[in-house]
């Protein structure tokens, strides 16, 4: 399917386990982003990537790891999940460099529950 997809859509895990959320886009967009959405906080940026092998921290990066070996994939790993990481995670991508135009397109989201 064309566009941006995330998997899994729902995940329940336990405290201390490692979890990887996948994001895949078919547009060949250069930029990709990970956000978490929590009630009362809106969307907060976790990590972003300008291109393959280039990543940078966002507002709330602690406890998360990202990689980007291929342009189309941007996995997000929770190395040791904590209850505070229970959230809805959105992946997004954008085409043109942010300093020109920065409309981002969002994936469907992954609802993660950490017990």
């Amino acid at each position: 399917d064309a566009g941006i997809t995330q998997s899994p859509r729902y995940k329940i895990t336990e405290t201390g386990r490692q979890v990887t959320l996948m994001c895949h886009q078919t547009w060949s967009h250069s930029y990709m982003f990970w956000y978490r959405q929590d009630l009362g906080h809106g969307l907060r940026l976790i990590y972003y990537s300008a291109a393959a092998d280039i990543t940078d921290k966002g507002e709330v990066p602690d406890g998360y790891v990202v990689s980007r070996s291929k342009t189309e994939n941007f996995p997000l790993t929770l190395e040791s999940a904590t209850r505070s990481q229970t959230s809805v995670y959105f992946c997004a991508s954008s085409d043109i460099a942010p300093w020109v135009y920065n409309e981002q397109f969002f994936g469907p989201g992954t609802r993660l529950t950490v017990l």
Partner: protein, 114 residues
């Protein structure tokens, strides 16, 4: 640090009425984005405003940008139930020196009632 504030955060309005959602931001920017999110769904791009005085309209929604006041408005005309959703504004500083990811407001949850 760029901060984006929306108000109101919750809005219940009657069908057929008009209302405005406000988005204020703290640093210079001439690029602002409005998104819509339905319950349990992803974010959908509504408007992209790229200059001072920009105005975009689609259906019953109209967005405008005043960069001098650091303010964008989303005006709803003659609300209908289908407009019930959460609306987010997002801003980037447009700096050429580096990447500037979007900073989102906390969203305005709109409920249109009969």
């Amino acid at each position: 640090e760029l901060k984006v504030e929306q108000n109101p955060l919750f809005l219940s309005m009657q069908e057929g009425k008009n209302y405005t959602i406000y988005c204020n931001y703290s640093t210079t920017s001439d690029r602002l984005y409005w998104y819509r999110q339905d319950p349990g769904k992803s974010l959908e791009s509504l408007f992209v405003l790229l200059s001072n005085g920009a105005v975009k309209q689609e259906g019953r929604l109209m967005a405008s940008l005043d960069t001098k006041a650091r303010l964008s408005t989303l005006h709803i005309t003659a609300a209908v139930h289908d407009l019930s959703a959460t609306y987010f504004c997002a801003v980037d500083t447009g700096e050429e020196s580096g990447n500037t990811p979007l900073v989102f407001g906390k969203g305005t949850r709109l409920s249109v009632i009969a």
